[in-house]
C-alpha cells in the first residue's frame, strides 16, 4: 500500500526533521523562543513529582484508583512505542495485556503461585511470547505487510481472543477469573494502597527510563527513520521488517508486564481485558496525550482516566460521546496530541545518541 508511508509522514507533519544530525538541530538556537530551556525534562519532572506526592494527599480509595491509572499508563507506554515510534498500528495491544493477565491469574488459581518474583517475569514472558508470535506472523515474511493488514490483523487477533475467553469454560467464560489472591513477596502481601502504588510507580519509572534510552539510541534513530520513510531505511541496509518485529515484541513485553500487575491489582480478570474495549482505550490515551512522546502516553492516560472518574457520577452516559468528539478533534486539528501544546516539534523528535559538545553546535547546525 503506497499511501501508507505517506500517511505516517503526514501525521507527524515534518518528516525531514529526523534526518541526519538530529542533535545539533535540536540545539540550534535560531527561531527557538525558549533558547537553552528544554520543556520535556520539566514536564517529565513535574509528572513524576505529582505522582510521588499523590498518595500523601489522596484518600485511600483514590490511591487505589491512582494505582490503576499508573498501571494503565504502563500499558499506554507499550502502545506508544509501537505506534508512536515505529508507526505500527497495533489495534490489538490489549491482546498481550489480557493474555498476561489471564496467564498469571491461572498461575495463581491453579498452581497457587503469587510471588511477585515469579508472577512478573511470567507475565512479561507471556507478553513477549504472544507478541513475538503475532508480530512475527504479521510483520515478517517474503512480502512486506501493508499497514492496513497489520492493524486489521492485530484487531482481529484481539477480537478472536476475546471471543475465545468468553466461550471457554476453563477461563471462566463471561465472568472471567474472580478473586485472585494478593501478590506476595516472601510472607509479605501487597494489598491495594500506597505500597502497591509505589511499587507500580517504581516499575513505571524504570520502564520509562529504559524506553527513553531505547528511543534515543541508534536503534531509536532507525525506528524514527522507519516511521518517516520505510523505503529509505530499507535502502540504507536496515532490515525494516526485523526492526518492526523487535519493537512490536518490546511493546508486547511491556503490555504483558502491565497486564499481570493489573490482574493482581484488580483481583480478577475478565474478557474485556483482552478485547476491543481495552485496545480502544489505549489508542485513545496515546493519541490524546500525544503519540511519539513517551510522556504524552502517560499524560493522556492520567487525563482521560482522571476526567472519566471525575465525571462518572453525573455524566456517565455522555462521557464516551465527549471522548469520541475530543478524539476526533485531536485527530483532525492536533494530530500530535495535547503534549504538542507545550512541546515544540524539535524537542519532540529530540536528539539521538550522544550530544555533541556545545561549542561545536555553531558549525554543525544545518
Amino acid at each position: 500500500m503506497g499511501g501508507a508511508e505517506q500517511a505516517v509522514a503526514r501525521i507527524r507533519e515534518e518528516p525531514d526533521v529526523v534526518t541526519g544530525d538530529g542533535a545539533p538541530a535540536a540545539r540550534a538556537p535560531a527561531g527557538q523562543a525558549s533558547a537553552g530551556w528544554k520543556v520535556l525534562p520539566i514536564v517529565e519532572g513535574l509528572v513524576l513529582l505529582i505522582a510521588l506526592v499523590l498518595p500523601w494527599v489522596l484518600q485511600d480509595y483514590l490511591t487505589v484508583f491512582a494505582t490503576r491509572v499508573v498501571i494503565l499508563a504502563l500499558f499506554a507506554l507499550s502502545f506508544d512505542l509501537v505506534w508512536g515510534y515505529a508507526g505500527i498500528m497495533s489495534f490489538g495491544q490489549a491482546l498481550f495485556f489480557g493474555a498476561a493477565g489471564y496467564g498469571v491469574a491461572l498461575l495463581a488459581r491453579d498452581l497457587n503461585v503469587t510471588s511477585i518474583l515469579l508472577i512478573l517475569p511470567a507475565g512479561t514472558l507471556i507478553g513477549l511470547t504472544a507478541s513475538l508470535l503475532l508480530g512475527g506472523f504479521l510483520l515478517l515474511g517474503r512480502y512486506p505487510s501493508s499497514v492496513i493488514f497489520v492493524s486489521l490483523g492485530t484487531l482481529t487477533g484481539s477480537y478472536a481472543a476475546d471471543r475465545l475467553a468468553r466461550g471457554w469454560y476453563y477461563l471462566g467464560g463471561q465472568n472471567g477469573i474472580p478473586s485472585i489472591p494478593p501478590l506476595t513477596l516472601g510472607s509479605y502481601e501487597f494489598e491495594e494502597g500506597p505500597v502497591y502504588y509505589y511499587m507500580v510507580l517504581g516499575i513505571l519509572v524504570v520502564v520509562y527510563l529504559l524506553c527513553r534510552f531505547l528511543v534515543r539510541s541508534q536503534f531509536g534513530l532507525a525506528l524514527a527513520g522507519l516511521r518517516e520513510n520505510e523505503q529509505r531505511i530499507a535502502f540504507f541496509g536496515y532490515k525494516a521488517q526485523h526492526l518492526k518485529a523487535i519493537i512490536f515484541a518490546v511493546g508486547g513485553t511491556i503490555a504483558g508486564l502491565a497486564g499481570s500487575l493489573y490482574a493482581f491489582h484488580e483481583g480478577f480478570v475478565w474478557p474485556n481485558m483482552l478485547g476491543v474495549v481495552f485496545s480502544t482505550q489505549v489508542v485513545l490515551y496515546v493519541l490524546f496525550g500525544g503519540s511519539g512522546t513517551l510522556i504524552g502516553a502517560v499524560i493522556g492516560t492520567v487525563i482521560i482516566e482522571g476526567v472519566s472518574f471525575w465525571l462518572s457520577d453525573n455524566y456517565r452516559d455522555v462521557w464516551p460521546i465527549i471522548l469520541g468528539v475530543l478524539l476526533l478533534l485531536v485527530i483532525m486539528f492536533r494530530p500530535l496530541g495535547l503534549v504538542s501544546l507545550v512541546l515544540g516539534e524539535r524537542e519532540r523528535v529530540g536528539s539521538f545518541g550522544k550530544a555533541p559538545k556545545p561549542k561545536e553546535t555553531g558549525n554543525a547546525a544545518p
Binding site: 500517511a7 471471543r163 460521546i321 476526533l328
Partner: protein, 285 residues
C-alpha cells in the same frame, strides 16, 4: 435430507447477511481507498432508524425503506464535514472514522440504554416446502441481497455515474481534468456505501435485535471479508463476504461454535498473509 436442506438454508441466509453488510464497506474501500471504521455504526444507525419508526407506530417496512435514505444522508454530511480531510492518509482515515464510529455508537447507546430491543419481522411466518419450514423473512433477505448486489453491479458497471466513480478511482487527476467533480463523486460514493450499510442494518434488526454493539461484530467480519476478497474491485469484497459468511455459518455445524468463530478469523488472516492481493486481484468492477 430435510435437515441438510435446513442447514444449507441457514448457511446461505447468514452468508447473504454478511454480503449485504460488506457491500457498502467494500465499495468505500475499493472505490475510495479508505477503510471506514464507522461502517459498523452505519449498520447500527440503520437498525436504529427502523426501530424508531416501529416505536412511533409506523409499519416496520416503512422504517426499512427510510433507513438507507436517512443513513445515506448522514453519510453524505459526515463525508463533507470530516472524512474529506482524510483521503491523503489511510491511517488517519482509519483513526478518524474510528472516532466517528465511537461517537455514533455511544450516542445510540445513550439513546437506547443497555437494552436489547426487538423489532418484529415485517414478513412473518415460514414458507413450507414439503416437510421443511424456512423463515420467510430470512428468505426475503436472501432475495433482497441478490437484488441489491445486482443493482450495485449494474450501477457501477453500466451507468454514467458508475463510469465516473471508476474513473475517479483509477486516476483522480485525469478525472478532474476531464471535468468530473471528484469531491462530489467521493461524497456520493461514501453516501451510497453508508446507505447500503443502513439498509443492511434495517434488514437484519428483526433477526439480531437492536443493541449498541451490533456494529462491532459485523465490522470486524466485514473487514476480514474485504481483505480476503481483495480490495480494489467490486466483485472481490462480495466474493470474500460469501466465503467468510459461509464459513462462519457452516463451521459451527461441525465443531464447537467458539472454536469455529476463532478458526474463521485465524484462517482468514493466514490466507491474507500468504495472498495479500486477495481472492480476486485487480481493479475495476
Amino acid at each position: 435430507m430435510a435437515s441438510t436442506f435446513a442447514a444449507v438454508f441457514e448457511i446461505v441466509s447468514f452468508g447473504a447477511i454478511i454480503v449485504l453488510v460488506v457491500l457498502g464497506l467494500g465499495i468505500i474501500a475499493s472505490m475510495m481507498g479508505i477503510f471506514n471504521f464507522a461502517q459498523g455504526e452505519f449498520v447500527l444507525l440503520g437498525a436504529y432508524v427502523t426501530y424508531l419508526a416501529y416505536a412511533h407506530g409506523a409499519p416496520v417496512w416503512a422504517g426499512m425503506v427510510a433507513a438507507p435514505f436517512v443513513v445515506g444522508a448522514i453519510g453524505f454530511v459526515l463525508e463533507a464535514l470530516i472524512i474529506r480531510r482524510f483521503y491523503a492518509a489511510p491511517i488517519v482515515a482509519m483513526l478518524g472514522t474510528y472516532a466517528l464510529g465511537l461517537i455514533i455508537r455511544e450516542s445510540v447507546r445513550g439513546l437506547i440504554g443497555g437494552f436489547y430491543l426487538t423489532v418484529p419481522e415485517p414478513i412473518g411466518g415460514s414458507i413450507d416446502l414439503g416437510s421443511v419450514h424456512i423463515s420467510a423473512w430470512r428468505f426475503t433477505i436472501i432475495v433482497i441481497t441478490l437484488v441489491v448486489m445486482g443493482g450495485c453491479y449494474l450501477l457501477l458497471a453500466r451507468t454514467n455515474f458508475g463510469l465516473r466513480v471508476r474513473a475517479t478511482l483509477e486516476n483522480p487527476a485525469l478525472a478532474r481534468a476531464s471535468g468530473i467533480s471528484t469531491p462530489l463523486i467521493y461524497g456520493a460514493t461514501f453516501a451510497f456505501g453508508a446507505a447500503l450499510a443502513g439498509l443492511a442494518g434495517a434488514l437484519i434488526v428483526p433477526v439480531f435485535s437492536l443493541f449498541a454493539d451490533l456494529g462491532i461484530r459485523f465490522l470486524i467480519q466485514g473487514f476480514v471479508a474485504v481483505m480476503v476478497g481483495g480490495v480494489g474491485s467490486f466483485i472481490g469484497p462480495v466474493a470474500g463476504a460469501g466465503v467468510i459468511g459461509t464459513l462462519s455459518a457452516a463451521l459451527p455445524w461441525v465443531m464447537s461454535p467458539v472454536v469455529a468463530d476463532v478458526l474463521v478469523f485465524v484462517l482468514a488472516i493466514a490466507f491474507i498473509k500468504f495472498r495479500p492481493q486477495g481472492l480476486i486481484a485487480g481493479k475495476g468492477v
